[in-house]
Structure formats: C-alpha cells, structure tokens
Amino acid sequence: MKNSLLEIKNASLDIKKDNVLEDITLKMEQGKVYGLLGRNGAGKTTLLSLIASFRKPTRGSITIDGQDPFENETLMPQVDFLYEVDYSEEYRTPMDLCKLTKRYKNNFDLDYAKTLFEGFGITHDKPINRMSKGQQAAVNAIIGLASNSPITIFDEVTNGMDAPSREYFYQKVLEANARNPRTMILSTHIVSEMEYLFDEVIIIHHGRVLAQEPLDVFLERGFKVTGPEEKVARFTHDMDVLASQNLGPTRSDMVLGRMDEVQQAEARSSHLNISSLKLQELFIRMTEEKESVQ
C-alpha cells in the first residue's frame, strides 16, 4: 500500500465575507493522477493555491507527509503549481526560466526539458512574451513535467494549446509519472480528452467536495439506458433520471445510481441497451444547477 502523501482535513477558506471553500477533506497518494473538475468559480484554483502554499486555509489543515507545508522551507519546493500566467512582460526565454527553476529546484531535469521543447516543437531561445498563447502554455507544461516535484499541479495548463500539443502533453504526463511517480493534479475543463489520464476524480462544486473516487468507481455511479421510448420510460420510471434525449422513436435516459440484478434482468428481457456514462456526462449532470441533482 502506498503512503498517503497529501491530506486536506476540513479545510475552509474565507476571503473577506465570501466563504470560498468549505470543509474540504481529500487524500492524495504518490503515483496517482488526480483529475480536479468543477464549474467556473467552483473553487478549483483556490483549492490548488492552498495546496501550493499560495494561501493559508482559514480553518482546517493541509499536510504533506504529516507536516504543514505553509512557510515550510523543505516542503514548499516539493510542490510545483503551474497555472495560466500573463507573460506579456516576460522578456526572458523559456530556457532562462528553466535554468532559473533548476537553481531553486534540484530535481529539475534540464535535459528532459530540452527534449520536451523539441517534442512540443517550440524554440527555447525566443523571449516568452513574443510567443503565442499556446506556446506559452507549453512552456508552463514543460516546467511542470521537468520539475520532477513530488506534487505537481497543472491548473488548466492546456488552455490555448492546439490539439497535437495537448495530445503530446497527455502522453508526457503518463510517461513522467511512470518515470518518476508523483502526485499529479490536473484541473481542466476539457474533461472528455483527459478522462483516460485520471486515476481518481475529484469534483468540487460551490466550494465543497462533491466526490473523490477512483475513476472506475465514479463511472459506476450512473448508466445510460437506450431503447424504444415507451420501454425506456417504463424502465426508468422510479429511477433518478439525470437527463433524457429523444431521437425519433428512440429514447436515451441517463440515470444516477446502480442497477440491481432484477433490474438488469428486466433490461435484458426488454432488449434495452445499457451502457456506462462518460465522465463528462456525469460531471455535467452532477453539477447542473438543479436541486434534485444535488
């Protein structure tokens, strides 16, 4: 069993009169990739900034291997927080930034960073402010991947990247974690593309944790029933239906919950097609602004 590395216990954050995060409890282990999902303004970046010691929780605690990382000289360099930065005034080159990071973070692998620059197809000797938004995002991604920090946080780091760059980044996330197991947290809105990277999913909504589960367990929270409209309606009559779609005589219902054996047999006898939900579908339905869903 792997050691628990990062623990957040009942952490809350108030900013002025706003209660931005409330009673967050999470546990993250080394070697796993965590997908942090949430609607805009849910508190994802704020939660990540607590982990990276950019902020201190108002209540509760955050520990890395049992110690509070805030203002801890040993633990703070162990966390790398990469987020969208305004580089309009950044005259240094990506290589300058990599060398600067290397000075402060001993684990930073400069040769690997050079390989990643080639992989992303970007030059490392051009001032960053003269690069496109996608290239700047790639620079951030490279710094995070090459840092080899035990806790690496990517907050919407693929924003602005083109599809090939995103795909390359996803491959490298898996490779980097295989080479040097660490706790990786990926916060994203591109859920459908990144789903396969996640070992566990964390959903945050209105500043509270809605779920933290292994991806396969999470996906078992719901299912999709497809078939003739009348049969589907009868089958899902007493179930917690998240959404319905009709295409001619065919109806597809997204249902929250698990089927028991009787229901499975009924679905088979009615020739209904049962499939699992996609992470994105489940995420959208769970965070829709409907009282019944919450």
Binding site: S49, F54, N72, M76
Partner: protein, 231 residues
C-alpha cells in the same frame, strides 16, 4: 545564510541592478544637459553625486514599490517561503543601495576631471564630513527602499492597505530624512535649527537603526501570511 537566500538575493539584486543601468545613464544625460545649458553658479558647481542624491532615494523608493509585484509570486512559485523572500529583498535593498552610491560616486569623480562640470556636494554637508554624509545617505536611501516595500505589500494586500501603507511610509521617510538633514545641515523642514540644537551623530544613527528595525518588523507582519494571487 542558507543557499536559497543567497540565490534569491543574487537574482533580485541582478534584476534591480539592470534597472540601475537604465536609470544612471538617464540621470547622467540630465546632469550634462543641465550643466551645459543652465547658467547658474550653484548648478554649474554641483557634482553629479550631489544631483543624484535625491534621485537615488526616489529610485530606491520605486524599486521597493515594484518589489512585491515583481518578485513575490515568482519566489513562492520557486518554493521560497515568504520569510526567505523578505530576507532576500532586505539584502537586495542593502546591496543596491551600496552599489548605487558607489556607481554614483565613481561617475561623479570621473566627471569632476572634466572642466565643464562641478565638484561640490552640498555646502552644509561639507561641515559634517564625508563619512557622516555617506553613512546618512546610505541609511536614508535604504529606508526609502523599505518605505517603497511597505507601500508595495500594502497595495498587494488591497487598496485600503495600500493607502494606509502610503501614510505609514511617508511618516518613516520624513522621520529619517529630517534626522539626517538635522545632523548634516542643521535644518529641519528647511528651518535652520542650529541656534537651538545640534545633531548628535550617535543618537542619529541609533534612531535611524530603530526606524529601520521598526519598518522591517512592520514588513514581517504584513508579509508573514500574505496570499499570493493567481489570475
């Protein structure tokens, strides 16, 4: 001194030193133009050092004001604690204060060899001696940097904090400036106080150091748990 502190102090000093390489030539051009085109005895006799004194203080005030906005987020991203950041900035302020005074002095000496430029510092200052004058200048300039730093952290925390920090900073800067004006020129707010009292060098240094420690204590309390803003 730990390794990270040394690195940070070197990196911050290097960055601010680059700004001085813009600032000093601009000051030099202004000095040359003023010396050539303005025909007033006081100005024509004034050295580059004398002219750059107040400007150096303002430069350090501005450097202090930029410090948090330029370096705090980067520092925490690189894994430095706020405490290390503060210490590195204090060292940087000291290094740049000395480097700026030295460069200003060297340029002044070189200019003094040319017949078109003056060599006087300030009449009053000659009485207190060059060492006292240099010490006063260094302590005052460093305090200006700290004053800027307070304004910077104040505004980083919020608008109201920024406005309060301006008032606080002004009080500190007026206090140290008055102390050394009294010590070196015998004036306070341009009023001649020599008939009533004369400055005591030891007490002036003690009060200056007290002001500096007081300012650092304020900075420490303001920066201890300051949230680093993202986006």
């Amino acid at each position: 001194m730990n390794n990270k502190l040394k690195l940070a102090a070197m990196d911050f000093s290097g960055q601010i030193f680059k700004w001085t390489l813009w600032y000093l030539p601009i000051m030099l051009i202004i000095y040359i133009l003023v010396s050539i085109f303005i025909n007033e005895q006081d100005i024509n006799e004034m050295s580059f050092y004398a002219m750059a004194l107040s400007a150096n203080e303002i430069f350090m005030l501005v450097a202090g004001i930029l410090s948090v906005f330029m370096f705090l987020e980067l520092s925490v991203s690189l894994g430095l604690t706020r405490r290390t950041f503060l210490r590195a900035m204090l060292l940087t302020g000291g290094i740049i204060t000395i480097a700026l005074a030295a460069m200003t002095g060297i340029i002044s000496v070189i200019m003094n060899f040319m017949p078109w430029f003056g060599g006087s510092i300030v009449v009053g200052d000659l009485e207190s001696g060059p060492l006292v004058h240099i010490l006063g200048h260094l302590l005052t300039t460093f305090t200006f940097f700290l004053g800027g730093f307070i304004i910077s952290i104040g505004f980083y925390r919020g608008f109201l904090g920024g406005m309060i920090s301006i008032v606080l900073s002004l009080c500190i800067l007026v206090a140290i400036d008055s102390l050394w004006m009294w010590q070196t020129r015998g004036t306070v707010f341009d009023i001649d106080v020599t008939p009533y009292a004369s400055g005591n060098l030891f007490m002036t240094i003690v009060f200056s150091l007290f002001l500096i420690f007081f300012t650092v204590a304020i900075l420490q309390s303001l920066i201890r748990s300051v949230p680093v803003k993202v986006k």
